[in-house]
């Protein structure tokens, strides 16, 4: 990796070449020099300046280009492997069943709750449905732990998902962008701070829900050892965290992947695992640059799909 020019270096070189007329070789040398000698703070500044320039160029070219998506040439990238998509699918289905058989208990006085519970076989059968779905959720949790521990791809994904100070800066910049205080959207790698939040929120939810749910599932056994207030805490936590998780999924997750005007009616990536090049450029520019720079791909990097994606 050290012999390869970094993305920043290449970007500086390109800029020196196109804007300042240096020939390619000289620009590359100059850029390498800058990269090595400039203080990190300055490098950041350069990066930002270049970003602004790039964005301006892109806007200008977009104004001329008919459609950005068409301009991307229809190339697609494989963002998520089948393994990851299956994990998501099992989790999504089990969570839907858990919510449908669980939430009516929290709102048992509503007429619709009775209808939903009766649909699942009434109050004596729906708990069994709930526990079967819970078993699948526990299973997918263990599956995921094995995935991030035992597979190269999983470990690489996990590393990319670890929160970094840059995520806080990205979030701050995103807010400023929303408020119109900057033209610059934060530039994300494979996982934006939003996606990282979603990922770690699931850890929190899984720990609370599976932990408290196990106590409730085996109340009689737990009460042999623990006092009643212990199971009462489990009940309260299970009920409250369930509502939080449901609201987060319905409001936040569904907005991001379904109701966001750019994604409506849905972002198909969770099924196909693919993402268009244009979306890559807009939403994961750092990853896109890394992939297209010719540097060797990491195990978690999205790979270009060879066949033509065309219209979706």
């Amino acid at each position: 990796m050290t012999d390869q020019p970094s993305h920043l270096e290449k970007a500086i070189a390109e800029q020196l070449h196109s804007a300042h007329g240096l020939d390619l070789e000289a620009a590359a040398r100059r850029a390498a020099d800058m990269q090595h000698r400039l203080a990190p703070r300055f490098a950041t500044w350069v990066r930002r300046e270049l970003t602004i320039l790039e964005s301006r160029d892109r806007k200008r070219s977009r104004a001329q280009a008919p459609r950005p998506r068409a301009a991307a040439g229809g190339r697609e990238f494989q963002r998520f492997s089948l393994n990851v998509r299956l994990q998501h699918a099992v989790m999504a289905v089990s969570v839907i069943f858990l919510i449908l058989t669980g939430l009516p208990l929290k709102f048992s006085d509503l007429a619709i709750s009775k209808g939903v519970i009766n649909f699942f076989g009434g109050p004596d059968v729906s708990p069994i449905v709930h526990r079967v779905a819970a078993s699948f959720l526990i299973f997918v949790g263990l599956w995921h732990l094995a995935y991030i521990a035992l597979t190269r791809e999983g470990r690489a994904h996990f590393m990319l998902l670890l929160p970094r100070p840059q995520d806080a800066r990205d979030a701050w910049q995103q807010i400023n962008y929303f408020l119109g205080r900057t033209d610059q959207r934060p530039r994300f790698d494979k996982f934006s701070y939003v996606e990282k939040f979603d990922y770690w929120a699931v850890y929190w939810g899984m720990v609370i829900m599976i932990g408290s749910g196990t106590v409730l599932w085996f109340t009689n056994q737990f009460l042999k050892v623990f006092p009643k207030w212990f199971t009462d805490i489990a009940k309260e936590a299970h009920s409250d965290e369930a509502l939080l998780a449901t609201l987060a999924i319905v409001i936040w997750h569904f907005y991001n992947v379904h109701f966001n005007p750019h994604k409506f009616p849905m972002n198909p990536t969770f099924i196909t695992g693919r993402i268009s090049e244009q979306e890559m450029i807009e939403e994961h520019p750092l990853e896109w640059e890394r992939i297209t720079s010719g540097a060797p791909l990491g195990p978690a990097d999205s790979r270009p799909v060879e066949e033509k994606g065309g219209q979706r």
């Binding site: 009775k114 109050p123 009460l223």
Partner: protein, 364 residues
């Protein structure tokens, strides 16, 4: 009139069909006739001795009759099958429906409860021929019927338990020592429930039947008639709303959703022997909790851990102890998380709208 006459006769015929026994016309009983019955029935020693040696008094206390709401009626208005003297040895049971039917012309209180009685467990047994099942007069009294508001009435709230207890002996014994029974019978507190406050009056159904006021699904509702009111509970030193808090437990939720297997109010507190938890005889006294929870089919093997913690928890109240703090933590977490996420969504949407508004063809 010509056109009305057939109609009127049809209506009369319909009324006659609906009420097979024509109503007697109200007229003060001739004193002579009463005295005629009194010739025999006015004597205290007048009795019938059956073959097995049991004696049945046939004495009718004329003073009791005079004090009753039926004082203006003559014996044969009710004992209508007496058409000659001496009359047959065994008379038919008096049919109160002779007068007490909706729209009766004699001004008898309209018995809208009759339907309920016929469908009730008592009425069903009676109609099936079980003579031990009570008819009207078995509860309301025969010759001495007075209004139910009269403390002398057999169906006055303070006397209902004893009336029902004539047959339901064991339950009456339990009830008299319960918090409800002591309050009503010893302290004369009519706010305390008699039998009919929970079971109903005429339409009493077996607890096993879903429609019963004391069935598993209806018990919480029935208890909430009193214990659903905060001021009522506070008056009797019950600091929380026991019914509302019950409805938020797994027992209460499953009960609400129609499960008959889970514990309802009576499962833990008993039906008739309800006592304050501080009473050592109470099934919900901490010392008795393991036995109560450990009943077969519930939580076999329940131990003292079952009593370590609060019951009827209201998570929004400080009295809930640690549950209050857990609930508060999640409330704050939920509100702050959703506020943050909601704000992010709104800012995003606002930005997108602004872009559209400015006519930008770009896609951000």
């Amino acid at each position: 009139m010509r056109t009305l006459a057939p109609l009127a006769s049809a209506a009369l015929a319909a009324a006659a069909a609906a009420q097979p026994v024509p109503a007697p016309t109200p007229a003060p009983p001739p004193a002579a006739e009463v005295r005629q019955c009194g010739i025999c029935h006015g004597r205290r020693e007048f009795k019938q001795v059956d073959a097995d040696g049991t004696a049945r008094t046939l004495w009718v206390d004329e003073r009791e009759l005079r004090r009753s709401v039926h004082s203006k009626w003559h014996c044969i208005d009710c004992h209508a099958d007496v058409d000659r003297i001496p009359h047959p040895a065994r008379l038919a049971k008096v049919n109160c429906q002779r007068c007490h039917f909706p729209g009766n012309p004699v001004g008898a209180p309209e018995d809208v409860n009759y339907e309920g009685y016929v469908k009730s467990v008592h009425g069903r047994l009676r109609l099936a021929g079980n003579l031990k099942a009570p008819a009207c007069q078995d509860c309301h009294g025969a010759h001495g019927v007075v209004k139910h508001t009269d403390p002398a009435s057999q169906v006055h709230p303070t006397r209902v338990p004893a009336t029902c207890g004539r047959c339901h002996v064991q339950i009456f014994a339990e009830y008299t020592t319960s918090a409800h029974g002591i309050s009503l019978l010893e302290k004369g507190n009519t706010e305390a429930p008699s039998c009919s406050a929970c079971h109903g009056e005429h339409g009493i159904l077996p607890a096993k039947e879903n429609a019963s006021a004391v069935s598993a699904t209806h018990i919480p509702e029935t208890c909430s008639t009193c214990h659903g009111m905060t001021e009522f509970n506070l008056r009797y030193g019950i600091p929380i709303n026991p019914v509302r808090t019950f409805r938020h437990t797994f027992h209460g939720i499953a009960n609400e959703l129609g499960s008959a297997r889970v514990a309802n109010c009576a499962s833990c507190h008993t039906a008739h022997n309800v006592l304050s938890a501080s009473d050592p005889r109470s099934t919900v006294n901490p010392a008795n909790i393991p036995t109560t929870c450990g009943r077969a089919g519930c939580h076999p093997g329940a131990n003292a851990n079952y009593a370590r913690g609060r019951f009827h928890i209201d998570p929004s109240s400080r009295d809930a102890g640690i549950i209050y703090w857990v609930a508060l933590f999640f409330k704050i977490l939920t509100i702050s998380t959703l506020a943050g996420l909601g704000m992010h969504i709104l800012l995003d949407l606002a930005k997108k709208l602004r872009h559209r508004h400015h006519g930008a063809a770009t896609r951000d």
